[in-house]
């Protein structure tokens, strides 16, 4: 989950720079980035808690109990500890451009975990259905643990987090439960695919591992994987969620939007991927392939990522995004016109992607999968 907040950019830098900072990325500036990106000003959501409470998992009880038992057993409890594998990081020696992108990665990831924790905890607190509240409690636990682990890596880089949002005015927006399922299911599964692809790559090419945190990606992404399993089961409890034609259109919309956004964001971080020795285009397609394969467990179709219009559409989306950013930077009337032109191009690119025919898939009775990549 990544929460973007254009408002409330008043930076309260907390703490002082510890070590390893330079002019490009002081603690204050990084805290500002965090403020913009979310960590300090996450968004707050409400949903239809009565609808959530009314979920009956009896139709998937066997799979559900197995999944919950696995999460209760908490095999990763001892995993998120720094041991001798946590090498010393030479923050001072890190190339400034790489450091910037890597810190953006850490802050965004920490924010995502933190926001996930806030959302899940709220769902746990407002519900009374024992199955549902237990699931959200367990997922909140994992997200808070991940956030703590990344926070520690940030502290090593001389960056402290600020939770000043707690005493600022917070407005609560609203998502229908099904939108939460579609978005978080995909988010957890694509997160798994992203982490495991990098982990396997660095396992085979350890010379590119420029920070020890990548060594922890395997167990980390197994948590993401099981969270995704939980949302797959939730969607299974109501066949209408994945079978009605309106909902199929929504699922396609979510898949297209999520793949498109990921493509654009990754291509905006060339230095990070180069340092990892990863071709960002290869990486994107590989993550889509794995995510599509996994999503067959519950979605009745996958996007046709091998369609000639698919790659073209993604590239057009990325180009349009650059134009929009230029327009915003430029400001004035010309800037405004550029932003509009970019937005129109992004819309056209999205439409082109959205109208590519899907690849149909027969969904299995039991969605359960093991992380196999």
């Amino acid at each position: 989950m990544n929460v973007q907040t254009p408002e409330a950019l008043n930076g309260h830098a907390s703490g002082t720079a510890l070590h390893g900072t330079n002019e490009e990325m002081t603690s204050e500036k990084a805290t500002d980035v965090a403020m913009q990106d979310t960590l300090l000003t996450p968004r707050f959501y409400t949903t239809d808690f009565e609808e959530l409470d009314a979920i009956n998992v009896e139709t998937v009880r066997e799979d559900w109990d197995k999944l919950i038992a696995g999460m209760v057993a908490d095999p990763n409890k001892g995993h998120f500890k720094k041991n001798e594998d946590w090498d010393t990081v030479d923050w001072d020696g890190m190339e400034p451009a790489l450091k910037k992108e890597f810190i953006d990665f850490l802050i965004s990831s920490c924010t995502a975990e933190f926001s996930g924790c806030v959302l899940y905890k709220e769902m746990k607190r407002r519900g009374s259905n024992k199955d549902i509240t237990q699931l959200f409690q367990l997922m909140a636990r994992d997200e808070a643990r991940h956030a703590g682990f990344i926070n520690d890596a940030l502290r090593e880089a001389g960056i402290s987090v600020n939770l000043g949002f707690l005493t600022q005015q917070k407005k609560y927006t609203y998502f229908r439960p099904k939108f939460i399922y579609y978005a978080t299911y995909l988010s957890e599964k694509i997160g798994y695919a992203r982490y495991i692809t990098i982990f396997r790559h660095l396992d085979a090419n350890p010379e590119y591992r420029f920070h020890p945190i990548f060594k922890w990606f395997e167990e980390w992404c197994n948590d993401e994987f099981s969270h995704g399993e939980a949302f797959a089961l939730l969607m299974k409890t109501d066949p209408n969620l994945t079978q009605s034609w309106q909902n199929k259109l929504w699922i396609k919309f979510f898949l297209t939007a999520v793949y498109g956004t990921m493509w654009v964001r990754d291509h905006q971080r060339p230095v990070f991927h180069e340092a990892l020795g990863v071709d960002v285009t290869w990486y994107g397609m590989e993550v889509f392939r794995k995510t599509s394969e996994i999503s067959k467990q519950v979605y009745p179709f996958t996007l046709d990522i091998d369609h000639p219009r698919f790659r073209k559409g993604l590239d057009r989306l990325q180009d349009a995004n650059v134009v929009i950013a230029e327009g915003k930077r430029q400001g004035g009337i010309m800037g405004k016109l550029k932003t509009w032109a970019g937005t129109a191009r992004a819309g056209a690119a999205f439409f082109s992607l959205y109208t590519i025919p899907v690849v149909h898939n027969d969904v299995p009775d039991s969605p359960m999968m093991a992380p196999a990549y």
Partner: protein, 98 residues
Amino acid sequence: MGLLTRTRESAPCTVTISHRFEELSAHVKFNNGAKIYAGDSVLVEGAEIMAPYGEIVREDRTAIITRASGLERAWTRLTGDLEFMELCEFSFSEEVTL
């Protein structure tokens, strides 16, 4: 709740912050059972709260809940879904360049 009017109420709350290696989290719990609905705003009164590293801090505070008007609530329910991309994780911020 009026169609156009907002109302305010105060609620006792507990803010819990865990700023530890094993858990980074922050939660606000209303102690009078107040529930938040779409479009409502919450302001926790008092100075900024932060737990020192390695600690959990719990503080009792007062929160001011501004209830959305009927129109605002309907609007938030109608448009909130469009912000769904916020729920997705992409590892990086949306900034084109850093």
